[in-house]
């Protein structure tokens, strides 16, 4: 072991081994984060094009309309197929190429081994494989947009028979998904083993930072939920490529042509069950790491222990478990009878309870605090009401009767975007501002950070708040031209507000991009523990060398020992023994 630790010196590695095909969890984490940020911005850009068509239907897109391919646009005007493709790719990219790799691959890889006092992940080569399989999957997905069909256009949910009868963009999508799922599986095994096996001495499970708990539960979700989708993707690929009928019934007639070559006997609803059996846990994969980051930032910036640490841990475990038995609430409108729908709406109401507990614990943590309004804290604080709105608006969708009216409307779009955009993505920003000094030894600019936060906070609400009212009015999702229907025509003003909100939100990201790159080279140099934090990652040098800790840390206390009475400093790091 000591020999191994000795060989961790990294100065002798060539560039491509140190920064490209690296087995170091921190390099892999940064690779994941940077790749995911680029994909996130790309996915966001697709949406900005769609928002033009929604705001000004049938009018040429300024600047970039002429650059779009013939499948996407004609004479600078987005076409129906183009809108569907951008929509499907936006969803796919944001979820599978943006947030999951950033939250799990990026933050999980970089922070988790440091927070448990480990020298690296348990399986460094597996870790590298996970990133490169993800990278190939990402290239396939994005690359499909530059082929003749311009990508898949059947929604990110790929419901057959639409997806099976579509052009070959869907085939590429399925192949890309197989890579992305494989990558997540490799990563999840690694996280589970690392967390269980490589914790520093003294770091019992109930001394783990909440972030580690959130990542551990997330890893179990990925491990258990992804295989069914991988299998389902393989089946749909067979339906598309070799003419099987797993999801295709007999007797289909497409544009008056009887598809008599289909053997039939398949059921399109089966795909929905397999898809949502993954995709509902996936929703928690999107949010749990974000909650973990928020908990870290709030504890650090309130300068007090998190209120109800154990409730938080039990809640997150319970959430993970429950997330496997709520999936069919995405399918209430498929013709579900009373018995099945009763079960799924009951589990859906039950799963809201641990979310309420987590939110309550975090907000009560503010009571009696000494709040520092740092940039990460601003994002973390904004997360709380935004996530609350996202969570609460899930209630009328989870109840079958109100879902009759709201299902597939903009209410749904507003609901889940409040969870993942001003929810998870704000948590990601909080995490980037918070751990940037650990990764680089420099701090990001506060002034630019605030210039990033405030406009983002305002405009993101301008984008998503109108959607609840549109949904109430009956505006449906996935509509190339909302004004084609009465409800959409009547609420067209709200659509304009969303669109302008989205474009201004994009401008509000400029300070972040400038800040990010400027701070890498010119940011203020700071100490190893600039936030005066307690968890183990701050005991390592910034940036941590290969192998992380100069000496293996030993843990003496819980994760959030802030403002301990009778101690001169307002924080007691986990690796420092308290006198007494």
């Amino acid at each position: 072991m000591s020999d191994h630790a000795h060989s961790h010196g990294d100065h002798d590695l060539p560039f491509w081994k140190k920064y490209v095909f690296s087995v170091d969890h921190k390099v892999i984490g940064v690779q994941y984060a940077l790749t995911a940020l680029v994909f996130l911005f790309f996915g966001f850009s697709l949406m900005m094009i769609m928002r033009w068509q929604l705001a000004y239907p049938g009018r040429p897109i300024p600047l970039i309309g002429a650059m779009l391919s013939g499948t996407l646009a004609a004479d600078g005007v987005l076409v129906g197929d183009g809108y569907n493709i951008l929509g499907a790719m936006h969803g796919t990219i944001m979820v599978f190429l943006g947030i999951v790799p950033l939250a799990v691959g990026g933050f999980g890889n970089f922070v988790l081994p440091l927070q448990i006092g480990a020298p690296d992940m348990a399986f460094p080569r597996l870790n590298m494989a996970s990133y490169w399989v993800f990278f190939v999957g990402g290239v396939i997905m994005i690359g499909s947009m530059f082929t003749k069909t311009s990508g898949a256009g059947s929604g990110w949910t790929m419901y057959p028979p639409l997806a099976v009868t579509a052009a070959y963009g869907e085939t590429i999508w399925l192949v890309g998904m197989v890579f992305l799922i494989t990558s997540s599986l490799l990563g999840s095994v690694n996280f589970i083993v690392t967390t269980i096996q490589l914790r520093a001495r003294g770091l019992s499970f109930f001394r783990l930072p909440f972030f580690v708990w959130a990542q551990l539960v997330t890893a179990f979700l990925l491990l258990l939920a992804f295989p069914p989708l991988e299998a389902a993707a393989a089946l749909q690929l067979m339906d598309r490529v070799v003419g099987t009928s797993f999801f295709m019934p007999e007797g289909l007639v497409l544009s008056t042509v009887h598809l008599s070559h289909l053997s039939g006997g398949g059921n399109p609803v089966l795909w929905q069950h397999l898809f949502w059996f993954l995709a509902h846990p996936e929703v928690y994969v999107l949010i749990l790491p974000g909650m973990g980051i928020i908990a870290e930032v709030i504890a650090n910036n309130t300068r007090k222990p998190l209120w109800g640490y154990k409730s938080l841990v039990y809640s997150v475990i319970f959430l993970g478990f429950m997330s496997f038995i709520v999936w069919a609430h995405h399918m209430f409108m498929t013709g579900m009878g009373t018995t099945l729908s009763t079960f799924f709406q009951a589990t859906t109401m039950i799963i809201s309870v641990p979310s309420v507990i987590i939110l309550t614990c975090l907000i009560i943590s503010l009571y009696g605090a000494a709040i520092r309004f740092t940039v990460p804290m601003l994002f973390a604080l904004a997360f709380l009401p935004m996530f609350a709105i996202g969570g609460l608006t899930g209630l009328p969708l989870g109840l079958t009767a109100s879902d009759i009216q709201l299902h597939d409307t903009y209410y749904v779009i507003g609901h889940f975007h409040y969870v993942v955009a001003p929810g998870t993505i704000f948590a990601m920003f909080a995490g980037i501002y918070y751990w940037f000094p650990k990764a680089t030894g420099r701090k990001m600019s506060d002034w630019l950070g605030k210039l990033h936060f405030w406009p983002s906070f305002i405009f993101i609400n301008a984008v998503f708040m109108p959607m609840f009212f549109q949904g109430m009015a009956g505006v449906l999702r996935r509509q190339y031209d909302q004004t084609e229907q009465l409800a959409g025509a009547a609420s067209h003003g709200l659509t304009l507000m969303s669109s302008w909100g989205a474009w201004l939100l994009a401008l509000a990201q400029i300070p972040f991009i400038v800040n990010f790159f400027w701070s890498i080279w010119k940011g203020q140099r700071v100490s190893d523990n600039p936030w005066h934090a307690t968890t183990l990652e701050w005991a390592a040098p910034s940036p941590p060398p290969h192998g992380n800790f100069p000496a293996v840390p030993v843990v003496y206390s819980g994760p959030y020992e802030y403002s301990v009475p009778g101690v001169s400093e307002d924080f007691c790091p986990q690796n420092v023994a308290l006198e007494a």
Binding site: G308, G335, M349, L366, Y367, I371, D408, Y562
Partner: protein, 330 residues
């Protein structure tokens, strides 16, 4: 009939018997959401204002004994159980259990395809003619066996017009020829995925007074010309003739603004220049059936109009359809 019916303010008007229960549930849930969010938000703001870090003052290490969180969580759970058991489940059961008796209901088949709604009515004999997928053409979109099956002779098939009687239960048998669609009537609180390979029945009853021609009149609204936008009024027609001061008829009742953004916007400008102060318009088709499930590149256009009749009007419509077919035969 309620006097003022409009789209776009909170939920659209409702013309079904079960719909107001759904609306009530939606309203109650939103009150509950606000009842949680507002006190919670006030506490949040209070903490932000009060507990800003000040020099020489440290945070409280010991956790506050907050029983209130426990009570709040129990309260949330109790309200959710009430929403579930007291409201959602009964409304859903009303919507889903116990189809209306065969002798009371009016049965109609709806066959969805990219991108139209085909409606199939049994006609006077009350028996649906058989269909065969291999007979499907653009003129016979459901493959009705008009020649082979005697029951098919009096059947009626309409495309993107769905005629229904009010005041008695409608029993609708939904299926799809190609991909998954979703049958949604925003003004009736009815939504059901339409899935190829299976037939899913739904049932609902339209309010006895909800005749589509009356509703159109009731949805008449005046838009000040400065606020008029073609996007908002593209599905509307003039409720009455638009006449300028010197007696010139600028637009006749029943006219619309134009088929495109350009034409419509020019028309609005023309009317403004002629001194028209407001546009008094009504929706051409006040009751829409739309598709709620992505079904291809023209998904957004997939809409039918619902035409509701009283019993006499419905019988007259059915008879007229039959006659039209007979005329064609000559």
């Amino acid at each position: 009939m309620p006097p003022d019916l409009h789209y776009g303010r909170w939920s659209p008007p409702d013309f079904s018997l079960h719909g107001h229960n759904i609306d009530q549930l939606i309203d109650v849930v939103h009150v509950f959401m606000l009842a949680l969010f507002i006190p919670w938000g006030l506490f949040f703001l209070y903490c932000l204002l009060k507990y800003r870090q000040k020099p020489g003052q440290s945070a409280q290490y010991n956790p506050v004994k907050a029983k209130i969180s426990k009570y709040a969580e129990i309260g949330v759970a109790v309200v959710e159980v009430f929403l579930l058991v007291g409201l959602s489940m009964p409304v859903w059961a009303q919507y889903k259990n116990d189809p209306p008796a065969e002798d009371e209901r009016y049965t109609v088949r709806v066959i969805a395809q990219q991108f139209q709604w085909n409606a199939h009515y049994a006609g006077a004999d009350g028996v649906f003619g058989k269909t065969d997928a291999s007979l499907i053409t653009e003129l016979n979109p459901i493959g009705l066996m008009e020649e082979q099956d005697p029951h098919a002779a009096d059947d009626i098939v309409t495309i993107n017009d769905i005629h229904l009687p009010v005041g008695r239960p409608i029993y609708m048998r939904l299926t799809s020829l190609d991909v998954i669609h979703s049958f949604f009537i925003p003004t009736m609180r009815v939504k059901q995925d339409v899935i190829p390979g299976m037939e899913v029945p739904i049932w609902f009853e339209i309010d006895a007074w909800a005749l589509s021609d009356d509703i159109r009149g009731n949805m008449t609204a005046a838009t000040p010309i400065e606020k008029a936008s073609w996007y908002k009024l593209r599905h509307h027609i003039f409720a009455e003739d638009v006449v300028t001061g010197d007696g010139e008829v600028m637009a006749a009742a029943g006219d619309h603004l134009g088929e495109s953004y350009k034409a419509g916007t020019e028309r609005i400008a023309e009317l403004r220049e002629a001194g028209v102060k407001e546009l008094v318009m009504q929706p051409r088709h006040p009751l829409q059936v739309v598709c709620a499930q992505l079904c291809g590149n023209s998904h957004f256009k997939m809409a039918a109009q619902l035409i509701t009749h009283d019993e006499a009007g419905f019988a007259a419509w059915q008879a007229a359809q039959k006659q039209a077919v007979e005329f064609e035969d000559f």
